[in-house]
Symmetry: C2
């Protein structure tokens, strides 16, 4: 494929909100873009919990990236895993050994779960970041009800009917609320040996209230609404042990359960550390940690490249200090504004992606650029049918008003016409019938895929 | 749960067409039913190839069994794997060690793939029986196009763009037609480094024509329609070797490809052999094979319990010889009628399931029963947009007439209101736009599920 030499080539890693919006903006202005992602789809993450709770199906909230850009010939979409970034040599290295050169690079690989050093918990308490995660959680939850039906010992059945969500941020609250609705309204008539309304949904939070980043009055309202839905909210509850038979709290209390969902910790994508390593080799900066205490040192170069969560500290124009051609955006960037951190939410990802694209375009046109400013348009968390909390500028909403706002905003931002229609249809149907369409338990891919499941073990490109 | 002592208890194994229709009929007449299935869903298998080809999504063609019977309190649905049948003791044994007693048993566990003794081919050439199979095939096909986009060597790209379907029965023809449409219409604009219309779809058949069970003129028409769609049909082509780099034909020809789909052989479900073993222990009949040559011997008791395909030979009332309380129905039964075998198709499964239910009810009421008669209402195979062949009684249809008939029949029989609406919507949309909604490549369930994927490795019921 011939490429014109004068158009700058922008490589974008990650097709989440930040990467996707950056690619769109660049493409519209004629830049040449290569968009890399490990998966073939863009995911509308705010609705992922609905896939986990069998309300929506995977296709409703995901779109093949290739399809989104099918008419944009200047965007080359490549399903590929980036294993390293050579910041000095301006190249990204792919898993298959190939190296791509860039004029500008936008790193938007987002975040993953953090188990705070207890990585062995991961297999018992899946988190919710990818479609596969959502399908795994769905499988665990639906299977637990099936197990309860087959169990005759009341105590063991009780354990199968106990569901624990760890972490009461927006995702944890959404999951707990949806789980309570699932058992109380959707499944309650479906079993012969128990009433699904007996199911216990625990929401455990280490801090003193749910939705810690929200204003206190909204936290209180959220807790009230969750309790009305049937969730048992337990704040100040730290988990110290977790295995396939249950969880142990710091108080020593043991809760028998086989279904635990992790919604407590977020860690930056591991590619951030690779980038930091490569950058540190060139600049000599420390790798990771808190700022040094001495006041006099030059702010940026004395700072470690990564903050404690593994996110990449960026300049005012979202570039990596010392590398004006490398932008870090979305959940992977650490950016402070007016004394607070820009949060890891979809609007911040979109704004930072579009901003990075604009800076690249402005520079190419010889125009001046302005520092990044995050505009907080508010945040919201839905808890269940007609239950939600939201802040919109100075407005604070809860209950049905917040819920309708949430509904409207999510429908408007869903990418893809088909998704919108089907999601509206599913929601309307779920609203009136309490039924959910996606109640399928999928087992493992068939036995023959034993060793050909992951792309790594696919027939090699070089046999 | 209290069970009235006078109502007979019918255990049904398998919630496919045969088991589901049997349960429905029994329940309507007040019988007490326990319906067992390994999965939690009933699958509308005739549309499974559309899930494999990204046209429909899993939820569109599957319904939780529990939900189908949610208002029928006399049907107890249990997601469980039956590991053995004690024909003498009238019990079925579940994987978790429990044993269920029955007054009547209906075995409807269907069929699986057969690789004709080459089981090692299974991992390179998945077949199409379950939702997991369909998702695995979809993943392989979509991933092959992504690999082709990343490949620079033209010969290697050619191999990624070669797709082989082995077996030209209805499923093989449907898959090949849908694959050709996928590459020629849906994907053709989506890649930068090749034209997806270059993709080669091979349909390999060992016998001398496609759709061998159909009348010859329809086979010829089907081949013609497939070729118009872009399929390369090769009859009299036996596969002798198959690995992750390609297939070898009996002629010695080697075809490099990484994407092979198996649609050639069907074998009875392994539970048939367990049942045969248990029955043979009581009756002393031979286990499996062809009928003995001597003409004089008593027809039924001298026959081996299983035929060569592993299906269970049944009496005129679909019961196992010597066990009037055990019915074998659907694809697992071997039943001859007017010199021919009853085929393994959905209408035969439905008719045999309903028939077995009726016999149980008639016996309970002291009424006489009649032998099973399969009513062949015709058969059809769809090949692509406006392409299909069908026999309806003496009528033979092909092209758009057959296609519209196919469409109508499949919509009418799809179970569940939501499915019907969505499937019609998807088809209408695909028809007008050539787009397919389910183009998602799902990786393996997340790393933490490594050892908790299969139900066997779930937290044990008895810790």
């Amino acid at each position: 494929m011939a490429k014109s030499a004068n158009t700058p080539h922008v490589v974008i890693i990650g097709a989440g909100f930040a990467g996707l919006y950056a690619a769109r903006r660049l493409e519209k202005r004629g830049a040449r873009v290569t968009l890399l992602d490990q998966r073939n789809h863009h995911l509308f993450q705010p609705l992922l919990y609905q896939v986990a709770m069998a309300g929506l199906s995977a296709v409703d909230i995901a779109q093949p990236v290739r399809r989104i850009f099918r008419r944009q010939r200047k965007v080359e979409v490549l399903m590929a895993t980036v294993v390293n970034i050579d910041a000095g040599g301006r190249k990204v290295e792919l898993e298959d050994g190939r190296r791509l050169s860039y004029d500008s690079l936008i790193v938007a690989t987002g975040a993953t779960h953090s188990y705070f050093g207890n990585d062995q918990w991961a297999r018992h308490a899946p988190g919710l970041k990818t479609l596969e995660d959502a399908l795994e959680i769905r499988r665990k939850v639906l299977l637990a009800f099936e197990r309860a039906e087959a169990e005759t010992d009341p105590e063991k059945r009780r354990a199968w009917l106990t569901f624990a969500v760890i972490g009461a941020g927006p995702t944890g609250c959404e999951l707990a609320g949806a789980l309570a609705e699932l058992s109380r309204h959707t499944l309650f008539k479906d079993f012969h040996h128990f009433d699904a309304r007996e199911a216990k949904v625990l929401l455990l939070e280490g801090r003193e209230r749910v939705l810690p980043p929200y204003p206190e009055d909204l936290s209180a309202k959220a807790q009230e609404q969750l309790e009305t839905l049937g969730v048992e909210v337990r704040t100040n509850s730290l988990v110290t042990e977790l295995d396939d038979q249950g969880i142990t709290l710091k108080t020593g209390e043991r809760i028998p359960t086989h279904t635990v969902i992790w919604a407590a910790g977020v860690a930056a994508s591991p590619l951030g550390a690779k980038l930091a390593q490569s950058a540190a080799e060139v600049t000599g900066r420390p790798l990771q940690g808190d700022p040094p205490r001495s006041e006099g040192s030059d702010f940026v170069t004395a700072l470690p490249v990564l903050d404690r969560a593994g996110r990449v500290r960026v300049e005012e124009d979202l570039t990596l200090p010392g590398f004006p051609e490398i932008f870090v955006v979305g959940d992977l960037m650490a950016f402070e504004q007016a004394g607070g951190e820009v949060p890891g939410v979809a609007p911040a990802a979109i704004q930072s992606g579009v901003y990075a694209a604009n800076v690249i375009l402005q520079r190419a046109a010889g125009k001046p650029t302005e520092p990044f400013r995050y505009r907080d348009k508010g945040s919201m968390a839905t808890l269940g049918r007609k239950s939600a909390v939201a802040t919109l500028g100075k407005l604070r909403l809860s209950g049905i008003t917040a819920w309708l706002t949430w509904l409207g905003v999510h429908i408007v931002f869903l990418i893809g016409f088909r998704n919108r229609i089907v999601v509206i249809f599913e929601w309307a149907r779920a609203y009136f019938t309490y039924q959910r369409s996606a109640r399928l338990i999928l087992h493992e891919p068939s036995p023959y895929s034993e060793s050909s499941d992951t792309p790594e073990s696919e027939p090699p490109l070089d046999p």
